[in-house]
Symmetry: C2
Subunit: 339 residues, 2 copies
Amino acid sequence: MLHVAEAARVSVATVSALLNGTATVSPELTQRIEQAIRDIGYKRNAIARSLKMGTTRTIGLTVPHITNPFFTDVVSVIQQAFDRAGYAVMLCCTDEDLNTQDEQIRLLLDRMVDGLIVARVGDGGILKGIVEDANVPVVLLDRLCEGVDTDAVVLDNQRAVFDAVTYLIHLGHRRIGYITGTSDISPMHDRMIGYREALQAAGLPVAEELIRSGNFHEIDGYNATMQLLSLHDRPSAIFSANNPMVIGTMKAIRDIGLSCPEDISVACFDDFPWSDVFVPQLTTVAQPVQAIGEQAANLLLDRLAGNRDAPPRKLVLKGRLMIRNSCRPLGALAQSVSA
Amino acid sequence: MLHVAEAARVSVATVSALLNGTATVSPELTQRIEQAIRDIGYKRNAIARSLKMGTTRTIGLTVPHITNPFFTDVVSVIQQAFDRAGYAVMLCCTDEDLNTQDEQIRLLLDRMVDGLIVARVGDGGILKGIVEDANVPVVLLDRLCEGVDTDAVVLDNQRAVFDAVTYLIHLGHRRIGYITGTSDISPMHDRMIGYREALQAAGLPVAEELIRSGNFHEIDGYNATMQLLSLHDRPSAIFSANNPMVIGTMKAIRDIGLSCPEDISVACFDDFPWSDVFVPQLTTVAQPVQAIGEQAANLLLDRLAGNRDAPPRKLVLKGRLMIRNSCRPLGALAQSVSA
DNA sequence: AACGCTAATCTAAACGTTTCGAATGTGTCA
DNA sequence: TGACACATTCGAAACGTTTAGATTAGCGTT
């Protein structure tokens, strides 16, 4: 900017005023300055600007795994939304590890991000302190966090699983296996409640041996399914509360020599682009990823626009059961269908 | 830092020296400073540091679509690699649009990223100028760019498709449909050459009506496949050079009442986690995503470590044909197999 | 006792902006 | 003609660091 000012024979203050439109500058100087900018190929240094202004027009986004199709989609939507608003997005993957998350949040804060969108992990770690200090607005994504009172966008997980399991019950299933991630995060907790309540509402017992948990990875789904299938009174259906884990479920079913849906019905959380292309077409609970991403972005953008004092807003969106053909009717129902 | 210095009754220079280890400071002052840092909860401001140092420990990464499973995986690997090295990653999605890409690169450069990894779009746009000015190192990912001479990591696309199409020919296929993305990017260009050469090497004619192109989206694959399947002498196999488009291919086959592989064989580029779980298990060309991401990160980290003057390095990795069961043998071969 | 050496610490300038308040010039009005 | 308002431009401080060079203190030598 100094060079531009010299070349245009004006002060840096005038150049700045022109660039920001903070004061009127005469047509003559405008002309000279613009010429100088072109000649020099000048680009305003956003770092210096950030230092002075205290704002970086950058936000931080942390998710457990970007390869989880739910997060892939949500990240994509969020990125686009902030791109439109002229913000850059720093992306971090926490790998479901609390220490990693804390470290990354610190990294982002050091870099003076204007806001944070967090699909948190563990108990939230330093998040609590950050929200309380209230210097940078935080939006919780997908997962609430006990003791952290801030904007959030989540799914009505309990209801979504309740509906899915009720659907299985209506098909005639009585023993329904349930595979969950670690229950320290709210969606897993709420989904489990949905499962139990659906059974109870139908007057069915909750058999603890049908509930298995793992650490969100394909291999965990595989192992959990293997255990369920080797039960002497094995379930006729399995619901997987996590998308990557259902891949393991399908592989286990195949490896054990069974087939879906003939021998065992399968449904899972989170839709994905391939789900209605292949056989079996998987019945899933689809999250409104577009809406989730946009709402999260909007909440944060609203705070960034200056609306700091409004009380925390919690948006709860509805899932949608995508009924395909990976679950088959049992007993009397099966006969009436096959007849 | 000023507050810390005051609280510890030292100068800011001493605090800085301690924090950076650039000079020895006495045990006594060390003690006082560390205490003050704890008391105040001081965090070093990375923006001010960046301004002074001219480095942000942040890199920019642009890809066309993060939802394309190839890019999802590569982005994930790259993010992890830079995270380990203490760098933050700014992610941008260009949506296959050159103007968007130019704008995002400018945005990243304004923010003084230390380096750039670009899966470019169109003809590269302002990339050329940036590489020539050589202020910030650039690594090309997946796609080379004419006239842009810099580090790059790409696949041997020609060879990969050559192998895949040759495999189809060995199965007895003579009319092989080919669906490509827009040919202005190097992988699409090279893959097409691989297709043509495989046919020629086998003494087969290249029938132009069997070649269709689209814009990388599912719907384009759908339309292209519909056209191929309504040819009066329709192909017995289809190779899709792009992963998202193959979803459209599968849907078109289903909608038209055919089935894969019985009526038509399908193979495509890019492997994905679901490919060996469902029916048909898709035969794909798997890219070594882990290696691609790591190599790209390493090339850039090497430049960032100071190795600026080495000539551009171009890494060409090999794809791997994952043979599953979406392609069936034809003619005499089919009989010998079914016998 | 004066000197030089080393180690520890400090002062102050710089990085590239923004912005406040002052300075300058021009035209209007009494 | 002098006072005043207004529009335009400028000088300089500030944002929070790093760092070169200056200063100081401590200590062994001669």
